[in-house]
Amino acid sequence: MDFAGDHFSLFDLPAAFRIDSALLDRRYIELQSQVHPDRFASSGESARRLSEQWATRVNEAYQTLRKPLPRARYLLHLAQHDIGSENNTAMPTDFLVEQMEWREAVAEARAAGDHHELEHLHHRLQRELAARQEEIAALLDDQHDLEQAADRVRRLMFQEKLLSEIDDAIAAGEE
């Protein structure tokens, strides 16, 4: 078994976007149960250092695979198709226009202190995110179209950033 291998093989999972999250969770716990520094708290220097390195590695792998966006980026990275810097890409105009409209809607709702509208936008965007993820799953796992997948992943990055801005606005309204 190759422990220096990729994150998927660490958890003994197929390298695919569609993932069995319950299995991932369970294997994460199984691995941490073996390597966590608490298991080696009264051991010597080298065992403690080794354990810290392993536990760090397991955490990193888990964080990467747990959520769709980092998982998709990681799959593209494994296929040597890095999507590059977050702003060096020319997005299609219609997508950018759509994003501007979204941003205006969020800004308006925030300025008006319209909590209800912000919640509504949050849910609408979440539905779009779910659809986007399905699109990415098909492109990565079924059609193996890396070019298109990278494009969708870039869009997903825009959308997730927008979602966190909406959440910040909701949070600011609660305080």
Binding site: D38, A41, S46, L50, E52
Partner: protein
């Protein structure tokens, strides 16, 4: 020692190898020490049967320190030399302390951490805390009849790196064999969860004397997973006292007070607060040195009214933590109340109203943290019994980052990341021919450096002179299981990469600690050399025992030659440990450590392989259930 201690099924530590381990709750108001005895966690009391040690230290002219009840009784007579709530000063500068003008101390503002001028000289908050810890260590060693092998000290989950490092330094100064800093709410969750076999999402609301923490945990079959944490490291029961104090001044129309009178009224305020947890009205009577007389009655309603904003202040982090965990109130199965300040009825009510359920109070809120810490110390020391095992997955409370152009913060490790964790980021130069780069490490959530806590600054030299933007400087952050950060930076393009490692230390250098150690040993007039010898003998025994266990369970991982070498090393260490030559013991330990390094690596590989092998069975079980794929349908 370079060996892994993984208990095989059905295998446990023989009773004679029970290692003396304690859990310490170093609180703002009170501190406690607990241990596990015959499988049961108990708080160790003093000679008079009192479990709490007031976190109060009074310094005398002869250099001695009174700690606990004795010091507490004198705080109104000698407020300048009697340090209460020192936890609020740990890892803090003077400008971080709210209302410090109202405190009776003579402060010395130093970069990193403030100091206090006392009759016994200038004291760092670390030294004051160490004086408290020393009393607890002695109490434990007397009760357990032997030197401690392992100690776990709890810290507020919301403590930042500076506060954690200061606590670790205090442990070192007090001669405690610290093996882990544990977050207080996590310790409480361990005590509560193991006691009640709890499963599901739990919130721990921990309002102590000077700190507030909220942690959201998921408890599943022996795994305690912290999903999010939040809080305020300068909000606690003390602030409720202060509100009563201000109410007294206002209602009684008192003129500015002497430090002695102020200290006495603060004590009356605290007493009134405690009285109101069990009564509807509290009388407040005092005769001041100025001749003025205070005769007031505080009702529960008025108390609730004057502290409403404080309670509201605790609810913001609660909301934020829930949001960070991606959960809502309805997901929370139980709310565990921790800290003496949660005895106040208005706190119980506010938490109950917010979570729409009765908070859980079935463990003593003063003791639950120390109990959990003792359980964890017992486990970490290797005293755990087979099958009686659990895993804690904790997080860092605040994001870590570095300063970039324009005083902005680039976050490198986001808050609520599970520890241990590491992350690296590449930066570049902004001037042609730039050969040095200043790295400023900060902690906090705000975008501007000036709004975050500065942890460390260092410079990376030896960058090859290139055009702006060509150099590749990789800055790596590593956070260990204590939540402590180490930072390194390296230039990537040059063959001769420059590299530096910093362990942020906040005003206390290793030299300063060494000096304090020497001073403190002079004061207790202990035979320092003898103590150090005893400690290394204990360490040597521990190492020998671990190697023996390792050989017994995994000896087949070594060739005959390798095994012979290890056994020879053990023999040498055994011989050295019987002598009174500390240097020789240390050398023999280093040798054995080196000889077993490769063995440790092989054992780690074996245990990971076992984690994989164990899957075959669980996978068959899982196959009977419909495969779940949450994110993609």
């Amino acid at each position: 020692m370079a060996l892994l201690q993984i208990a095989e099924p059905g295998e446990s530590t023989p009773p004679h190898q029970h290692r003396l381990a304690v859990g310490i709750d170093l609180g703002t108001t009170n501190s406690l020490v607990a241990t596990v005895r015959s499988g049961l966690a108990v708080v160790l009391s003093d000679d008079l049967g009192r479990p709490l040690l007031p976190s109060v230290v009074r310094y005398l002219a002869d250099g001695h320190a009174e700690v606990g009840y004795e010091a507490q009784a004198r705080q109104a007579d000698d407020p300048r030399n009697t340090i209460v709530s020192v936890k609020r000063f740990m890892g803090r500068g003077l400008r971080d302390i709210a209302n410090h003008e109202g405190l009776p101390y003579v402060f010395d503002d130093r970069p990193g951490m403030l100091r206090l001028h006392t009759m016994a000289g200038t004291k760092s908050p670390v030294e004051v805390s160490a004086d408290i810890l020393r009393v607890l260590r002695q109490r434990a060693e007397a009760a357990l009849a032997g030197p401690l092998v392992a100690a776990v000290i709890t810290v507020p989950a919301y403590f930042d790196d500076a506060q954690r490092q200061a606590t670790k330094d205090a442990a070192r100064l007090a001669g405690l064999p610290l093996i882990r800093l544990l977050n207080e709410p996590t310790a409480a969750a361990v005590a509560y969860g193991l006691d009640n076999a709890a499963e599901g999402i739990y919130a721990v609301y921990d309002l102590g004397g000077g700190t507030f923490d909220i942690s959201i945990l998921r408890l599943t079959r022996g795994v305690f997973e912290v999903l999010a944490t939040g809080g305020d490291s300068a909000l606690g029961g003390d602030d409720f006292d202060h509100r009563i104090f201000c109410w007294i001044l206002e209602t009684a129309g008192l003129r500015p007070l002497s430090v002695e009178d102020a200290r006495m009224l603060l004590t009356r305020a605290r007493e009134a607060k405690e009285y109101l947890s069990f009564h509807g009205m509290a009388p407040i009577n005092a005769r001041l040195n100025s001749g003025e007389v205070v005769d007031l009655t505080l009702s529960t309603e008025t108390f609730a009214e004057i502290t409403r904003t404080l309670l509201a202040k605790t609810m913001q982090p609660v909301k934020k933590a829930l949001r960070d965990a991606g959960l809502s109130i309805g997901d929370v199965k139980g709310v565990v109340m921790v800290g003496g300040a949660t005895r106040m009825p208005q706190v119980q009510r506010a938490v109950g109203d917010f979570f729409r359920q009765e908070p859980l109070n079935n463990l003593d809120p003063d003791k639950v943290v120390a109990i959990g810490a003792a359980m964890q110390a017992n486990l970490l020391a290797g005293n755990g019994r087979a099958g009686d095992d659990w895993l804690l997955l904790d997080v860092i409370p605040l994001s870590l980052g570095i300063e970039t152009m324009g005083g902005l913060v680039e976050k490198i490790i986001p808050r609520n990341s599970t520890i241990p964790t590491a992350r690296a980021q590449e930066f570049t130069t902004f001037r042609d021919g730039q050969t040095a780069l200043a790295v400023h490490v900060v902690q906090g959530e705000r975008e501007l450096v000036s709004d975050c806590r500065s942890l460390a600054r260092f410079e990376l030299h030896g960058i090859p002179p290139l055009v702006a933007g060509a150099a590749r400087i990789r800055v790596s952050f590593q956070v260990d299981a204590d939540g402590l950060l180490a930072v390194s930076a390296r230039e990537q393009t040059s063959g001769a990469a420059a590299s530096i490692v910093v362990k942020p230390s906040y005003g206390l250098s290793d030299d300063e600690i060494a000096l304090m150690l020497k001073d403190s040993l002079l004061h207790v007039r202990a035979d320092a050399a003898l103590r150090a010898l005893k400690e290394s003998q204990v360490d040597a025994q521990r190492l020998l025992e671990a190697v023996r266990t390792a050989l017994a369970s995994d000896g087949e991982l070594l060739s005959d030659d390798e095994r012979a070498r290890v056994e020879a090393g053990m023999l040498r260490l055994k011989g050295a440990a019987g002598s009174d030559n500390r240097r020789q013991i240390m050398l023999a330990m280093d040798d054995l450590e080196a000889d077993t390094k490769e063995f440790a690596a092989r054992r780690m590989d074996k245990s990971i392989r076992q984690a994989f092998a164990g899957r075959n069975i669980s996978d068959i079980e899982a196959a009977a259930l419909p495969a779940r794929s949450e994110e993609v349908q």
